[in-house]
Amino acid sequence: MFCVCVDPLQGDFPETIEEFLQHGNMKCIAFNRRGTLLAAGCANGSCVIWDFETRGLAREFRDKDCTAPITSVSWSKYGHRLLASATDKSLTLWNVVTGEKIARITLQQTPLHARLHPGSSIPSVCLACPLSSAPILVDLNTGSTIVLPVSASDSGNVPLPNSRKFSDGSPPFTPTAATFDKNGELIYVGNSKGEILIVDSKGIQVLGLIPIPGGTVVKDIVFSRDGQYLLTNSNDRVIRVYENILPINGSGKEIEKIITSNNNDYESKYEKLKANGARCLVLSCEVSDAIAKVQWKAPCFSGDAEWIVGASASKGEHRLHIWDRAGRLIKILEGPKEALIDLAWHPFDPTIASVSVAGLTYIWAKEHVENWSAFAPDFIELEENEEYVEREDEFDINAYAERVEELMIDQDAEIDVETCEKNSSFSDFEDSADEIIYLPAIPSPDAPDEQPDKCLVSSSKLEDSNHSGSPPSSMDAVQNGLAIPPASSPLEVD
């Protein structure tokens, strides 16, 4: 990823299936922000974490209470927490390092998507989108929920007076999608009327409104990794890309400024919200399948937001369409004959992970063309045959002896072997020294016919805190980090 002498592959897209991951029956996936770990939720209620570099299983989180299929997984910003939503209306929060369950909250309805607040390393709030009602903010410590407004006249937590309500008083039937913006200050809600509402995540007020052309139900609303672009997937089979013109940092403050500066007379609150919204999002392009009018599923951006991928939601199809940001169709990738249920683009590499209904995760990557010049520096690869024209003195006998010595190297020049440059692809990252980029590898013990152990076995190792009586997986759950004795005092030198 940080290779100095390799062409950066960012901006490219995958071409073919490289391999697939198989462990249980996976339902949904999410990359951590560095793309080194892939979390997957399974049909048996467990969450697994794959080490994406080795494509091996790193961790498995299981709990006897969590047995319902997982509908979505979400990482906290620096990888310390993993949130899983399940069909038994529950949200489970896992501690990634220790593998312990931190919290389990039961909601009124099954959440289809649940996202941890992206702004903090230990988030206390998450956004959950139930199947067909307003999205809610859930406090992970107390379990209390706040219903978000789903229309301009809604102020949240107050059911609309003349809309359908369920007899048990639960929120009305309004299929909605919602997402945090990059820092979590604002929430973008796509409602069933085809509007994007910008909601303040603290005050839960609708601050702006953008009507989507077509006015149909919004099924998905997704930000790019850098927060610059937003896409919506609507029921009219069109994916629309918006450019976010609010600043990434301080979007909340900026929108407040817009509201106060927009204090002209408007006919209605609706018009005012529209005017605010127009200064937050600008429609950039629309993509759709003009011929087959395919419904889309799980659309998302590439890591650098140069490409958009959408999966065909047609029955039994595993097909990915890739467009560039101008809306031109670039590539169609065909997968195996198993319907696709989830999709994720790697944050940096031109790699896509797609989950099929068979529970396998397919990894799509670029085909590699061997660079023969790397093996032999004098070797030049030619695209096509070239007529060779020899030098005047090529076959002269004394030409060899006269070959000039290579350029003189100044061996006295100072060189720096210590300082490292920050890699530019992470320049928009705030570094956290605490970030979990790799999980410590715990070697799984060899089969017993290997050499007998030499010394005693430390007792607190390989503590299996998460097994629930199901058949032991070959991967142990995380052990508590063995306490290494504190560093001894610095040596005395006389």
Binding site: C5, P377, E414, E418, P443, D446, Q451, K454
Partner: protein, 359 residues
């Protein structure tokens, strides 16, 4: 009269008269007196750097045959040594007491490497396996994995700084990348056409450098196993050791013509040459010492440990004390401490510290 370098123990302070002015004495044909000429060729050269003043702190005996490798753990608490007697010994670097003796290999061990968190130790052996040992807490060390797959002696091993993979080079001319967790061989790189003598990861774990008797150093992308670069000089003496610099931009390669070269691998050119020691038979690793001044440290077949100033390339100190070829050196990551191991006649690990105290 020119005093042969082997009898000097500190850097020469006086210049000698006479001799020819060879502007590029170290360039192609290193000879034992070349560095003297270098001193003469630059009459207004900077004053030779002062000797860092390392002195012997302790000798650790116990191996029953030649020592083949010594390494400090990344946190500096432990020192491990491997030997032809099929054992690995782990010492505490603070009080130099023996912490563990690891038995399990069926033939002599050639190389070892610590995992980045210092909990695991990997060793490569003539029994064609790479073994992973869990060091545990309080000395409860044990073998956890045996990685089989090489078809000839496993000669060198290196953990990735990510801790999830390790690379091993072998006499079967390949480099294998293994997953630590499961022990499976992820990749077999068709690295060279002669035994692979060294493997190393850069600090980001993105690249692997491999050196071989075929005279090449190759750089590989660690994630995909694709070759990125080949470093080759006009004459290609066998490469006996190669490693990345701490910032991953340079490769230090030692060749069996008694030369160490520091390459800028993206340009494919070497920038510095270090000579004066003897290295024509064994694969002797070199190390960067950056805790107090920047030095290159290497063992030598004349029983000394050599230290060069990195920028000026001058020998600043020779540590004497071993009674056989110094086959391994390692620098402590934080303190001014060097460990060295020697062959059969000696069988000890010696620890050297800077006399003037820690910085």
């Amino acid at each position: 009269a020119v005093v042969p370098p082997t009898q000097q123990t500190t850097a020469p302070q006086r210049r000698q008269r006479g001799g020819t002015l060879d502007p590029f004495p170290n360039y192609k044909t290193p000879n034992p007196f070349s560095f003297w000429f270098a001193a003469m060729a630059a009459p207004d050269a900077d004053e030779t750097p002062a000797s860092p003043g390392y002195a012997l702190r302790a000798t650790l005996a116990g191996h029953r045959r030649a020592v083949s490798a010594v390494k400090f753990s990344p946190d500096g608490r432990l020192l491990a040594s491997a030997s032809a007697d099929k054992l690995l010994r782990v010492w505490s670097s603070a009080d130099l007491s023996l912490v563990a003796e690891l038995e399990g290999h069926e033939e002599g061990v050639s190389d070892l490497s610590f995992s980045p968190d210092g909990r695991l130790l990997a060793s490569a052996s003539d029994d064609r396996t790479v073994r992973i040992w869990d060091l545990g807490a309080g000395g409860g060390a044990r073998l956890v994995k045996t990685l089989a797959g090489h078809t000839n002696y496993a000669f060198c091993v290196a953990f990735s700084p990510h801790g999830n993979v390790l690379a091993s080079g072998s006499f079967d001319e390949t480099v294998r990348v293994w997953e630590v967790r499961s022990g499976r061989s992820l990749r077999v790189l068709p690295a060279h056409s002669e035994p692979v003598t060294a493997v190393d990861f850069d600090r980001d774990g993105a690249m692997i450098v491999s050196g071989s008797y075929d005279g090449l150093c190759r750089i590989w992308d660690a994630a995909t196993g694709h070759c990125v670069k080949t470093l080759i000089d006009d004459e290609s003496p066998p490469v006996s050791y190669s490693k990345f610099s701490p910032n991953g931009k340079f490769v230090l390669a030692s060749t069996l013509d008694s030369t160490l070269r520091l390459w800028n691998f993206s340009a494919g050119k070497f920038l510095k040459t270090y000579t004066g020691h003897v290295n024509t038979k064994y694969c002797i690793p070199a190390a960067f010492s950056i805790t107090n001044g920047k030095y290159i440290v290497s063992g030598s077949e004349d029983k000394c440990v050599y230290m060069w100033d990195l920028q000026s390339r001058k020998i600043v100190q020779k540590l004497e004390g071993h009674s056989d070829t110094v086959i391994a050196v390692s620098c402590h990551p934080k303190e001014n401490m060097i460990a060295s191991g020697a062959l059969d006649n000696d069988k000890t690990v010696k620890v050297w510290v800077q006399k003037d105290g820690d910085q």
